[in-house]
Chain length 202, copies 4
């Protein structure tokens, strides 16, 4: 079983990403279940704006990510929080995944069916539930199944500020929730492998 | 297998509900798969505001709905659209379902795990995607799994107006999508019955 | 100048409402500017579901609130947070305000034009920005103007829990923001009194 | 008086942009009121991801837009609809505007205060209300005032499809609403010029 995590931080490597740190808690719990995991930081790649799977201009690196998404059973969408909303980086990736809507296997089953989606959010301010709802909405539109409680988040209390996941002592709930998310993603991915969704009725 | 549909129209019976009409397209497709279906119009009942499963005042009828939700494998949340948002009736039901968050079976599995949630929206104006995202967010928070493409909707084009699902000729996409939603809800409910989610790690 | 605050807590009086406590910080700052203020706890009244200003059944108390909203220059929408979303109580009030959409004065100016809307959110968990965005969206749809930074909120850090605004030591940012919201509401209400919106072009 | 419109289409020039066409209806109505208007297609520029006003890497063209936003009295945010959500292009611009949060004039008044924000959405599917709510939420967070009914949109009926604003016969409501938005933006911008917001209380 394979998992692909897309980190939508606005900061390219090697800057520290709190979102990446929390995503790795989920991925570590998946690795304990023998899931092969890969994490991509979107800001490190050249991804053109668009809504198709193919390259839309020279140098567009979306096709590499598209191939990895096709091969994955579990896709994790991770974002920082700005104005209580997901980042433009993760939005761009979701827009490109729109191309999957019309891609089916030889039996007419949409490519995203029988994949599951999970969600990770960090922020210095309120907004995690909404970020999850936005990423999830795109995911189940494309055909991903969203397992119950397949997300985790960290933020601080009211108002903006400097505090961050990596420097906080207050991460126990967040990390426990991350491990529960990993378990639920793994179980539902297995459930769909055993009892798969079929082509939609016409 | 059992399905429970909650219709959040603001209009009590016997007023015509477009939301109910479209919900019945999903339920009919579930019945073809031998699912036992029940539809409740929330505006016909006395449901007190609150976030617990027990009655919060004399005459509060939520406990009846709670019992039916516990017995269901598939729960469908249906709403009209006001200001592009779900109705206060379906919101009230989702708030009461919050009580399920802390309810587990004898093995410590949350009661909503291994149930799936689907969504139906009608409106005379734009807003269906957002209504779905709001209802879905509450559902997967409680522990319901949201299958890929487990929703349908109908609205008219730009601006408010009189046109409605029941009187429209333009319902083919909406009804086909409703039948696909039913198939996906049924398949994922079966998948979880065969390969169930277990208690979250502590 | 008059302000009306609608508190969408799910708890009837005399239960303590954190949302009410924070709303009063905004109202106190308005009173310092000689604004006459009234706060209504929606859960204390019988408000029928619907989208019109008139009573929809015997005992429906919406018309009283509608009259007060018509007389107000500033309307504050206040809600607790459930699943990161506004409560069914405040949603119901916003649905009823929909009736204002078609009400105009003798010059054809929609009744909500030249009124301003502000927002207050409390919660034991993340969701304030989204609650504000939902209430604001309904308000500017109806015709209210939303001044910059005309909101405040309080919640705790990650995960659900018991901590509440009234018992927290961490309220300085929240209360300062509340006073700024009051100032901005007051200034923009005055600006619109001096330079009012006129009837929309046909 | 000056207006700046930011078009968040994913398509670079010279591709046809429905969003641009509808935005121009608003701008034309502003020009009739002697407002000097400029429209920028974000996809034509190199805008680096980030949350500051200054260039974050060589070639980053955000500072040019930032300067124009500072000079504008009216800013219009325009987006196509993908999955019922605003585009990554307009999201990126809003993230960069976050830098304005900490910028004040010599009197301590935040730079966005006394500017107004309007919204334009086009789509081949449902989602306009939600797109408006997302862009507006960022705008009033930064300090822009959002006048009542300062938006317009166009989409088609249920389901995705090819139909677009420019090729539709069904644009009357959309264009009338666009002209009303222009009037409301202009009036509230004038109201704030005459009765401006002042520095927030500390």
């Amino acid at each position: 079983m394979r998992a692909l995590a897309l980190n939508g931080t606005l900061k390219p490597s090697p800057d520290t990403s709190n979102t990446e740190a929390l995503t790795n808690v989920v991925l570590d719990a998946l690795r304990e279940r023998s899931v092969e995991c890969e994490l991509i930081r979107l800001a490190d790649l050249q991804i053109a704006p668009g809504v198709v799977s193919e390259a839309v201009r020279p140098g567009d690196q979306w096709p590499e990510i598209h191939a990895k998404a096709l091969a994955a059973d579990i896709v994790i969408f991770a974002t920082p929080t700005w104005f209580g909303q997901p980042s433009s980086e993760i939005k761009r990736a979701l827009e490109r995944l729109d191309g999957m809507l019309s891609e089916t296997d030889d039996d007419g089953v949409p490519e995203a069916y029988n994949k599951v989606a999970g969600f990770v959010v960090t922020g210095n301010e309120d907004g995690a539930h909404h970020c999850i709802s936005q990423m999830a909405a795109a995911a189940y539109d494309i055909g991903f199944t969203v397992p119950g409680q397949a997300w985790t988040y960290w933020n601080k209390g009211p108002g903006p500020g400097e505090e961050e996941y990596l420097s906080s002592q207050d991460v126990e709930w967040t990390n426990t929730t991350a491990r529960a998310a990993a378990q639920n993603l793994h179980t539902v991915a297995r459930a769909l492998a055993i009892t798969p969704l079929t082509a939609p009725p016409s």
